[in-house]
Subunit: 152 residues, 2 copies
């Protein structure tokens, strides 16, 4: 890793090592705050911006990429060999992955047909996961839209 970074012109530091290690241990969909918390558990002297900058660095060197669902939080997803889409539960906000190998091929075709050179694909399916559906077995009287509309 140290060697890998050097070839890109970056140095290895204790903080960086801790941050990188923590990130790759945490798996998927990590937010800056989450990673910051985890890092601080092991070294409470690490600054927030250091975590933030290193997360950006991890993306720069191609080891991860940003995932943004528009809920105000940027998440970081470890780069994987297999392209995948996300199920986004509107209730619990959890992300689950699904394979999208098959669909990517079609998206590439669509792109070509539209004279667009693609570099990345994102598919997000919003809805409700099983857990949240079972949790709220009792149906509401009003629709979500109406209920929402009442709020200021």
């Amino acid at each position: 890793m140290r060697e890998f970074l050097r070839t890109k012109g970056f140095k290895m530091t204790p903080q960086r090592e801790l941050i990188f290690r923590s990130f790759f241990e945490m798996g998927k969909h990590v937010s800056v705050d989450e990673l910051y918390d985890k890092v601080r558990q092991q070294d409470s002297s690490v600054g927030y911006s250091t975590v933030w900058r290193n997360l950006k660095l991890i993306c720069k060197v191609g080891l991860a990429e940003e995932v943004n669902l528009g809920d105000g939080v940027t998440r970081y997803d470890r780069a994987t060999e297999t392209p995948h889409g996300h199920f986004y539960c509107v209730d619990c906000k959890k992300l689950t992955e699904f394979d999208m190998d098959n669909i990517v091929g079609q998206l590439a075709i669509i792109s070509r047909d539209n004279d667009f050179v693609p570099s990345g694909f994102k598919i997000e399916i919003q809805g409700r996961c099983r857990a949240c559906r079972e949790k709220e077995a009792t149906p509401k009287k009003t629709t979500d839209a109406q209920a929402e509309a009442q709020k200021p």
Copy 2:
């Protein structure tokens, strides 16, 4: 329109009418700022939050929906009958649409197979549009990744 809103419990006002009208004239992918500018051209007394709140209202009543590409700006897309995905040019930041009828069927199947009840699908294809490719016919010496990595 006035009638439609009343049934949902909302009133019609001059500002609201102007905002609604402007939004629907502007077409797709409108940001709060853009709409605000357009509205101000016709009535410079309208406040930013009024535009913002009405854009939210338009979404609440189902006439539009938010589109978020994670570039820090929320866009609003008029609700259409045909589901569509977006080409997002990483150079000019423009959005272009494409039909995704065929793919939606598959996403629904994927959802069912994963015990997920979908309520919405989003597909985003990042890349470069023809215009931006032609604009920069001269290839760079360094890769984008390397160039980016040099920045602080």
